[in-house]
Symmetry: C2
């Protein structure tokens, strides 16, 4: 298979971890006789520095002419604490999601047996956890009208959803559930929000097309609690943009390190793959960033093109590195000398 | 001291736990020679059933003519899954908060030494946790304009904040921090939301009045993670309405049971005290609901009127009941015969 892959390393540790994912994809190409072509473009704070634009046109064009996008991370503290900044790195990511119509963000959360002791949660709580989170990614309060009064004393953000936006991601979630434990949990705040009541109504109606799947509901505050009390109760979680942001980051603690969690952002035309950890500026350039989330994002990319054997080989390599403790310091206090790039080497060599 | 206390038991387990709080307050009155007068009124689903109104005028009037309000719980599953219901129990609680101007919801989160083993989190993670959460309670997306299109296919909720709304609760949070570990963490989503940027700006300016207090910032997704990874890092958390709802419910798992967590909702004129657990319909009438959150809410009520000795005695009684495992089944798998009312009796007798 031939794939054109756009590489958007972005900010902070983005470039170092993305390099390991590329290394691994190159090993796969060699082993399975595929042709993967990588083209890089700037996004985020680095793009602001160079082009005063967090998503330059050339970057967007490259994405649109590629088969898939490998994304690193975005964000820089110099913008976070400046409420008056006009241009922000995150706008690049949000615009990319919107322009490419990447409406479904899929985040698998798994407790790896060999890492049970790394989790802040007790072993019996997390053992066997296997959740697939479907977060709506191009709607809701992220993209609604924003307002700041002229005197700067009043602000607002609008959260909007349409039936159509809810249905298209709900279908993906239910289909995924059919190949799993056949349960979808809708997370919302239907006791307060009109948009949540719309979600509940649309998803309840649509569930009738999937009689083999059980649908249940959880208010987001309760979900935040249940995720820690009993994560095993979940199979597929379906939720809107902001709730998905919070719940999936929270869920990331289960596995013992956010450095393990991959994600796919899927639309009808384009698909992007990125680790869920952020740009982690404190770690930049130190060789301590965990590349596994980025490497597993590359595996999700391969799965997207039905290259399951290839994806599985990457996952095996990851599990082997975890078993042998060829891991970065977040997972491994004793061997602090295993660097980002050595983890990448190990998995690429395995392949 | 003479206090007129409005009692709003509400739905589900509300009445049974509130009764224990009253029992304990009566014991305090006897011991310290105070006069506490209790008057009860309906709110929530029970008020809808009786008066077709989740907050009848009489109930609101009673609250306005009382010195403080003791609240039980609200919510009934028969409304949760009916997106078309016109009247909902929760409207009663929201209207009460708004009408009484209860803009600051204060939720203390503590890990009790004798309950460390009940938590889903590992002991070394939670030991010594002591957080005071300040959640804004009368603004944000809870109270913004709601919209549902006529064809029922589009919905929206508006999140709005003004400088004034932010300042009044921020002052309370900073003052509280001054008597604690002198740190305030503002939880927001300033990389995406205009309202969050307003929060960040207003709180940053106001922090200059409290040079002895350190202010830091955390995006809500990261906060949801940090709350589990390292809850000890927090002292006072300050946040808007919806984020506070999610983060404080999440934080409730630290202590081992949501059945322990009290809250105070404070305004310039009125004050209301309620357990943070909900109506827990599955447990209603079974005598298994933990009354401690409600009893500790009564202690917060006393503190509000500077009755510190009285409040401390209640807290001692609670700690003793925990130590002797005179507790409901949520905390106590072996002695499942300790009922809601027996826990109340024990603490009242102790006083
Ligand atoms: C960087 C930020 C805008 C982004 C989001 O909130 O969507 C990130 O937290 C994520 O989850 O991908
Ligand atoms: C019942 C509901 C409206 C309420 C809220 O979301 O504020 C509850 O969850 C709470 O936290 O007091």
């Amino acid at each position: 298979m031939k794939l054109n892959i756009a590489v958007l390393p972005g900010d902070g540790i983005g470039p170092e971890v993305t390099n390991q994912a590329i290394k691994v994809l190159k090993a796969i190409a060699l082993e399975f006789d595929h042709t993967f072509l990588f083209k890089e473009a700037p996004v985020g704070a680095v793009a602001i520095d160079k082009h005063n634009n967090p998503l330059p046109d050339n970057t967007l064009d490259l994405c649109k002419s590629s088969d898939a996008i490998l994304f690193g991370a975005i964000g820089d503290p110099k913008y976070d604490n400046d409420p008056t900044a006009k241009v922000r790195p995150e706008q690049g990511l949000l615009k990319l999601r919107k322009e490419l119509g990447l409406y479904a963000n899929i985040r698998p959360v798994k407790a790896y047996d060999m890492l049970l002791d790394k989790s802040p949660l007790k072993q019996h709580i997390i053992e066997g956890t296997d959740i697939s989170i479907y977060r709506e990614l191009t709607g809701g309060i992220y993209f609604g009208k924003k307002y700041l009064s002229e005197d700067g004393n009043t602000a607002s953000d609008l959260c909007e959803y349409s039936k159509y936006e809810i249905e298209r991601i709900a279908h993906l979630a239910f289909k995924n559930a059919q190949s799993r434990k056949k349960k979808v949990t809708l997370v919302d705040k239907a006791n307060v929000l009109e948009t949540s009541r719309l979600w509940r109504k649309v998803v309840t109606d649509l569930a009738k097309d999937y009689p083999d799947v059980t649908l249940d509901f959880l208010f987001v505050d309760n979900a935040a609690m249940q995720m820690i009390l009993n994560p095993k109760q979940f199979d597929v979680i379906l939720t809107e943009n902001l709730f998905g942001d919070v719940i999936s980051d929270e869920a990331s603690v289960i596995g013992g390190s956010i450095g393990l969690l991959a994600s796919a952002s899927i639309g009808d035309k384009y698909a992007m793959f990125e680790p869920i950890h952020g740009s982690y500026p404190q770690a930049t350039g130190k060789g301590i960033a965990n590349p596994i989330a980025s490497i597993l994002s590359a595996a999700m990319l391969l799965e997207h093109f039905d290259l399951h054997e290839e994806a599985n080989l990457i996952k095996e390599g990851v599990e082997k590195s975890l078993k042998l403790e060829i891991t970065t310091p977040d997972l491994n206090a004793s061997y602090t000398n295993v660097s980002t790039s050595k983890v990448g080497d190990f998995i690429a060599d395995f392949i």
